[in-house]
């Protein structure tokens, strides 16, 4: 399902921050994990992901570092900063609030997406 750009604009950064919460990841890995974990809904190409990562880096929410992978290849890994963790926590709360509101309106089914506390 193709998600509206405005929705993606709001969801994309949160999704990426959430994925990085589990540990530093590189670009390709993020794309694959996003697609897999969201059933393709949050499938974003390199054209979207890398600019998004650069913006998060500019905001100080993630930091980038070149590392040697186990396969002796150089990869650029992105990790969450302390500021990024705080932002993630804040955004998650916001999404939960939205989800609860949507539940109340009948847009979402109860119990979906961690909407209940």
């Amino acid at each position: 399902m193709r998600i509206e750009r405005e929705l993606m604009r709001g969801a994309g950064p949160v999704a990426v921050l959430k994925l990085l919460e589990g540990g530093a990841k590189y670009g390709y890995e993020l794309i694959e994990t996003l697609a897999r974990s969201s059933d393709g809904v949050l499938d974003m190409g390199q054209a979207t992901l890398y600019p998004l990562l650069y913006n998060l880096e500019a905001q100080g929410l993630v930091k980038a570092e070149w590392r040697e992978s186990p396969s002796a290849r150089q990869r650029k890994y992105y990790a969450l900063t302390a500021k990024g963790k705080k932002r993630l926590a804040h955004d998650v709360e916001q999404w939960r609030a939205v989800a609860r509101a949507m539940q109340g309106l009948g847009v979402l089914q109860p119990g979906l997406g961690g909407a209940t506390a």
Binding site: Y26, Y28, Q46, Y50, E57, A58, E68, R75
Partner: protein, 710 residues
């Protein structure tokens, strides 16, 4: 490439300095770390790999920074390979020939894209894609390399995951949009200082552009607007002055002026008016006599001209120029403008009127010489002619200059009368003295005053030539107006401005037009100044209010002294300052007239009674209608007997009665300002107060020679 290279890092000071970054040099270290050889040596790789790296780096025509990047890249590549267990030969074989790498790098340079070694191993389509994105992102070199590395790593991961180059390229997205988004993201990561500099640069560019737009609009408005000249003030002034030739004295006067000779010629028989003040006892009297004797023809012409009812001097009369050219009187400058040209009235040359001072001087000198020779009739004739000349100069709508020349000539005639009476008491008969007294009283029909009609016309003419006319009395300054002001100002300035200032003036014009006051405001300031100056000088001078006079001047000077005031009030600043002193010139003329009347009355009294009166009241009403006032304080003109002889005097600008004592330079007392002192504490004291003890009294009789006579 089988060449062997000298990979020894530079040892000499200069060799190391060439490859040392400025930051290292400032810290006192000649690190030479911009030299690939230094980096290769530090890496301690096998010789074959070191040479391979150096061959690629040197052959690829890179900038110094690119060489360093590539060297580090390849060193890292081979180091990893060796660490993974590869041999130098295997790694070199896998790398491929150095020439191939060099060719790849040069191809990327041709495409203006940075080269990155990791990207070079990808399929051509993906390399091309990365190149295109990186090139269109228009980033710094280091940013380009970073993006290239990351995208290369991404595609490498994708290929390793089993995807094809075509699938990866298809999933990439729109190249232009991606490049734009990547650029935006990378720019956000740039240092704060860079962002500040970019903001400042944009602010400067926007401000410059805005200024340019505003300036262009101003320039268009300025250079495309023109004044509307509707009136020819020259012709209008001449219509009031024009008289039939038979009634005009000027044609005869101009002949007499030519007879006086050029300024060079006059050096042969010099004549200074100051020499007349000492009379026959003066040390230059012989020169006065010689001067008069050599110009009798001019005297005759002047007397004839003085009998004409009017002067008939026209502004910009081409007949004058033609006449003076015919008689080779090229020393007289009448300017280029003639009345029909309708140039600015302010450009009028009053050369002829100025030269009439010399005629007045000649007549006064002739009268004194005639009196010294005992010829009372000739003396009286010349005196009458001199007074008539003074009246003629004061034409309808005269310029202030002409009025001043009239006062000057009148003063010369009065002084000559007083000197004659002092020198040769009996040469003029009673009837001649009475006739002179009546003629003196009749000067200007008895009403000596200023007429600013011509000056107001100058203002109106300036406004019509300098400003547009919106039909409601207002308008804005034009390029022609600024040029007029500049020409006017340059006539006063010394040295003259250089011609190569034209470009600056052309550029500054629109800016100035935004500052210079509009037509209505300029007119209001100038006419208000005239009206207030006239109002402050109403009535006799001893009733003038010094505070009010000072306020007029002060207000005007405040306006000019304000920031940009001299530019904003361009024309008032050029025109106005001179008129305040004209009011005192009128009072001088009136006082001199009154004093001469008193002197004549005293002489007639003495002739009748063989005594001098104890006071001037004794002359009233038989010889004087009334005792004239001392125009400095309104009290009767001062009179006293000293050593049995009368002294007639005014207390002078210091308003202190010194008993008829003048100072070593008596002219100061005559030249004093009639404006009373201001009472305002903050106002600087007038000259009269500053020099209170230096003026003495203005003694009219007996005549006191001027300092220059001595």
């Amino acid at each position: 490439m089988g060449d062997h290279f000298d990979l020894t890092p530079p040892a000499s000071w200069w060799g190391r300095a060439r490859f040392t970054p400025v930051t290292d040099a400032l810290h006192g270290q000649l690190s030479a770390r911009l030299d690939p050889r230094t980096l290769i040596a530090a890496a301690d790789l096998p010789a074959s790999l070191s040479e391979l790296i150096y061959a690629v780096v040197q052959g690829a025509c890179l900038s110094r920074a690119e060489k360093v990047d590539l060297t580090q890249e390849l060193i890292a590549q081979f180091t990893v390979g060796l660490t993974a267990g590869g041999t130098a030969e295997q790694l070199a074989s896998d790398f491929g020939p150095a020439e191939q790498a060099v060719r790849l790098i040069r191809d990327s340079k041709l495409r203006n894209a940075p080269f990155h070694w990791q990207a070079s191993h990808l399929p051509a389509a993906l390399v091309e894609l990365i190149d295109t994105v990186v090139r269109r992102a228009r980033l710094w070199h280091s940013e380009k390399l970073d993006v290239m590395r990351e995208l290369a790593a991404h595609f490498t991961d994708g290929l390793a995951a089993g995807r094809t180059a075509e699938q990866l390229a298809a999933d990439f997205g729109l190249v232009d949009q991606t490049a734009r988004l990547i650029r935006r993201g990378k720019i956000r990561n740039r240092p704060l200082l860079w962002h500040a500099a970019r903001f400042m640069l944009r602010a400067v560019l926007i401000t410059t552009l805005a200024c340019f737009v505003v300036y262009s609009l101003l320039a268009a408005r300025f250079y495309f607007s023109t004044p509307t000249i509707e009136r020819n003030y020259w012709v209008e002034a001449n219509n009031a002055r024009d008289v039939p030739d038979a009634d005009a004295g000027w044609p005869l006067y101009r002949q007499a002026i030519v007879m006086l000779g050029s300024y060079e010629d006059r050096k042969a028989t010099p004549m200074k008016f100051e020499w007349l003040g000492a009379g026959r006892q003066g040390k230059h009297w012989d020169k006065v006599v010689a001067f008069v004797a050599s110009h009798q023809a001019a005297v005759t012409l002047a007397r004839e001209a003085a009998q004409k009812p009017r002067l008939g001097y026209l502004l910009g009369d081409p007949r004058d120029r033609d006449y003076f050219r015919e008689v080779n009187a090229d020393w007289l400058d009448f300017g280029k403008a003639v009345a029909d040209d309708n140039t600015a009235l302010v450009n009028v040359f009053l050369t002829g009127v100025q030269e009439l001072r010399g005629i007045g001087q000649l007549l006064a000198a002739d009268a004194q010489v005639a009196a010294a020779e005992g010829d009372g009739n000739r003396a009286a004739e010349s005196l009458h002619a001199a007074i008539a000349l003074s009246d003629q100069i004061y034409q309808p709508d005269s310029f202030l200059v002409e009025q001043m020349v009239s006062f000057a000539c009148f003063g010369m005639a009065l002084e000559a009368i007083e000197v004659i009476i002092a020198d040769t008491l009996d040469v003029l008969t009673d009837d001649q003295l009475r006739d002179l007294a009546h003629r003196i009283a009749a000067y200007r029909d008895g009403k000596i005053r200023l007429d600013f009609t011509a000056e107001r016309a100058i203002i109106d003419d300036i406004l019509q030539r300098a400003y547009t006319d919106d039909g409601h009395g207002d308008g804005r300054i034009t390029a022609a107006g600024l040029k007029l002001a500049e020409r006017w100002q340059n006539s006063y300035s010394n040295p003259k401005p250089a011609d190569n200032d034209d470009v600056l003036r052309w550029l500054a014009g629109p800016g100035m037009s935004a500052v210079v006051a509009g037509r209505a405001e300029t007119r209001e300031l100038m006419t208000r100044f005239f009206d207030q100056a006239i109002a402050a000088h109403q009535g006799p001078p001893w009733r003038w209010n010094g505070d009010a006079i000072e306020a007029v001047d002060h207000e005007f000077r405040l306006a000019i002294a304000a920031p940009l005031g001299k530019v904003r009030y361009l024309f008032p600043n050029l025109v106005m300052p001179g008129i305040m002193s004209a009011f005192s010139a009128v009072e001088h003329a009136i006082q001199a007239r009154d004093a001469a009347e008193v002197v004549i009355a005293l002489v007639l009294f003495h002739r009748k009674t063989a005594t001098w009166p104890a006071s001037l009241n004794e002359l009233v009403p038989a010889l004087l209608p009334a005792v004239p006032a001392d125009r400095y304080d309104g009290q009767p003109l001062r009179y006293r007997l000293r050593d049995g002889r009368p002294v007639v005097y005014s207390i002078g600008p210091d308003r202190h009665d010194d008993g008829g004592q003048s100072t070593p330079d008596p002219y100061n007392a005559f030249a004093g300002n009639y404006d009373p002192p201001s009472t305002e504490p903050d106002v600087p004291p007038l000259a009269t107060q500053r020099w209170a003890n230096e003026y003495g009294d203005a003694v009219f009789w007996p005549p006191v020679p001027r300092k220059s006579e001595e």
